[in-house]
């Protein structure tokens, strides 16, 4: 008969495997969602930590991780804009990412949910229904966000 210790050890092993198998991708997802490489690992680790208490009861850990990461990055995003406004008022220079892709700067400037739709669709390759589930909205909303994201990018592109 399996003991509570056995169950805990099995959970630990399964979570460890899940962590190892998804960590790097989650760091990259956080980088794409926030535009901040410096914060990406922090946010990825926080995402794993947040899902750990529920790990035993999660049917779709991959999808759950996407949702948690989206939420963690959204909170980071809200705080970043607050900090940036403070810096701008203080006359501090902006941060230059050093990346050559002008398009990435435009994507970084999009409202968070529009950017998230682009990342989930074009980098993770998720379907509309999967994006809707991850964002907690209806598929129709995903279509609207996608359309607006492309329109906003197009306005800024030559």
């Amino acid at each position: 008969m399996a003991t509570a210790d056995d169950d805990q050890a099995d959970l630990t092993r399964r979570f460890g495997e899940f962590f190892r198998g998804n960590y790097a991708r989650t760091v990259r997802l956080a980088h794409l969602l926030t535009g901040s490489e410096a914060s990406a690992e922090d946010l990825a680790q926080e995402s794993f930590a947040r899902m750990h208490p529920k790990f035993a009861d999660i049917d779709n850990p991959g999808g759950y991780l996407h949702t948690v990461t989206l939420n963690v990055c959204r909170r980071w995003h809200q705080g970043r804009f607050r900090d940036e406004r403070t810096l701008q008022r203080a006359g501090a220079p902006g941060v230059d990412s050093g990346e050559p892709h002008h398009l990435l700067e435009l994507i970084d400037a999009l409202p968070y949910r529009q950017r998230a739709v682009l990342v989930l669709r074009y980098w993770l390759g998720l379907r509309e229904s999967e994006i809707a589930q991850a964002l907690g909205c209806r598929p129709g909303t995903v279509r609207t966000l996608h359309f607006r994201a492309l329109a906003n990018l197009r306005k800024e592109l030559p």
């Binding site: 979570f15 962590f19 750990h52 398009l103």
Partner: protein
């Protein structure tokens, strides 16, 4: 720009950033997406990474601690909000007045001299990741002047990529490829099974390039595709298996030194143990290559079509590369030539001196609410 072109550009831009995201992983692999480098050599791992990973798993699973976070230097503490970029350089120029150039003759590690105008912001050891790459070339010191083929591969889960502008669709085995010229090289992109292979040919005919691509088979170790080198001409053999980012690299960890100056310029020095990279990096897609010496060691300045440049040179028993955001070639060379060798002990001290503090984050309220973070220790 059509919708398809815009979507393709978005896909490429996101993939570009993702491939360049530094991941301080410790024995972590991205299952199903990116294989680990083969035959990874024994190496020291970054203390903070080891601490965080071991601590994270143990703390989360055993003690119920919710998170272990790493905050960059300069990040606000206690807010649960990491800083966007480390903004406060750490005054960690080494006092090299006592360093012995003789004792460091074999070292491939570099640091700033004490009187440098530059300041170290971060010295770290990270896995070098990028597109997995194989290079087929001759043993020449200037492999770009002879027949050579660079084969890189990356997972591409978003479906077939768009057709590159000016390219010609062509059958490659059962797959469709796109053939085009770029930077004086013949290029071929082939999409197979959610994987995108890119072939970059130097001094090869289209027939040779296609023959090589059609001979390609997935590498058993997951490192891209293996091609039949006999299709590339006499003397061409596999010279490299590893990663490509701006340049090539193999083995881990990668030693990376980030520095800044008073003008706000930022530069990155990458240090590899492989001495052969100083010639193989000449195949990294530069528009122009100019031979230079750094100290008394051979090297070159490679310039990309975008106008940015990289200095690559031999150092100790390895190879170093240096790039500066937006700087000219003269600045690039001046900084490269000012760097001094450091010992393993000095490097370790530099890594520890610039390591970010380790914070412990605990939940406030339920598990989806904000966390609060306090510094629990700095790594040994």
């Amino acid at each position: 720009m059509t919708d398809e072109e815009l979507e393709r550009e978005i896909t490429h831009a996101l993939a570009w950033r993702a491939e360049r995201t530094a991941v301080h992983r410790d024995a972590l692999s991205e299952s199903g997406r990116r294989p680990l480098a083969p035959a990874s050599r024994p190496h020291r791992r970054r203390a903070v990474t080891r601490f965080v990973m071991a601590g994270a798993v143990a703390a989360m699973v055993v003690a119920g601690l919710v998170a272990i976070r790493v905050e960059r230097a300069g990040a606000p503490t206690g807010s649960g909000q990491a800083a966007a970029v480390s903004s406060d350089p750490v005054a960690t120029s080494l006092d090299m007045t006592t360093a012995s150039a003789v004792s460091n003759a074999g070292s491939s590690l570099l640091g700033l001299p004490a009187d440098s105008d530059w300041t170290v912001t971060l010295a770290e050891e990270v896995d070098f990741v990028g597109a997995n790459t194989r290079i087929y070339a001759t043993g020449s010191d200037r492999p770009e002047t002879g027949p050579a083929l660079v084969v890189s591969g990356q997972s591409w889960s978003t479906g077939p990529p768009g057709q590159p502008p000016g390219s010609i669709p062509i059958d490659v085995g059962d797959a469709t490829g796109w053939l085009f010229d770029s930077d004086g090289r013949k290029r071929l992109m082939v999409y197979v099974d959610d994987y995108l292979y890119e072939y970059s040919a130097f001094n090869l005919t289209y027939a040779q390039l296609l023959a090589a691509a059609e001979s390609a088979s997935p590498s058993p170790d997951g490192m891209g595709a293996i091609v039949d080198a006999t299709t590339l001409g006499d003397g061409v053999t596999e010279q490299f298996v590893g990663w490509s980012e701006w340049t090539f690299g193999a083995g881990t960890p990668l030693r990376r030194l980030s520095v800044t100056n008073g003008a706000g310029d930022r530069a990155t020095v990458l240090m590899f143990d492989d001495p052969d990279l100083v010639r193989l990096d000449r195949l990294a897609g530069f528009t122009t290559i100019t031979d230079v010496t750094v100290g008394d060691r051979p090297g070159f300045v490679g310039e990309y079509e975008s106008g940015t440049g990289v200095v690559v040179w031999s150092v100790g028993a390895g190879t170093a590369t240096l790039s500066i955001d937006g700087a000219g070639i003269d600045d690039l060379l001046d900084l490269a030539r000012s760097l001094v060798p450091v010992s393993e002990q000095e490097w370790t001290a530099l890594v520890e001196a610039t390591a970010p503090p380790v914070l412990s984050c605990v939940p406030v309220g339920d598990q989806t609410a904000d966390t609060t973070c306090v510094e629990v220790s700095t790594p040994d």
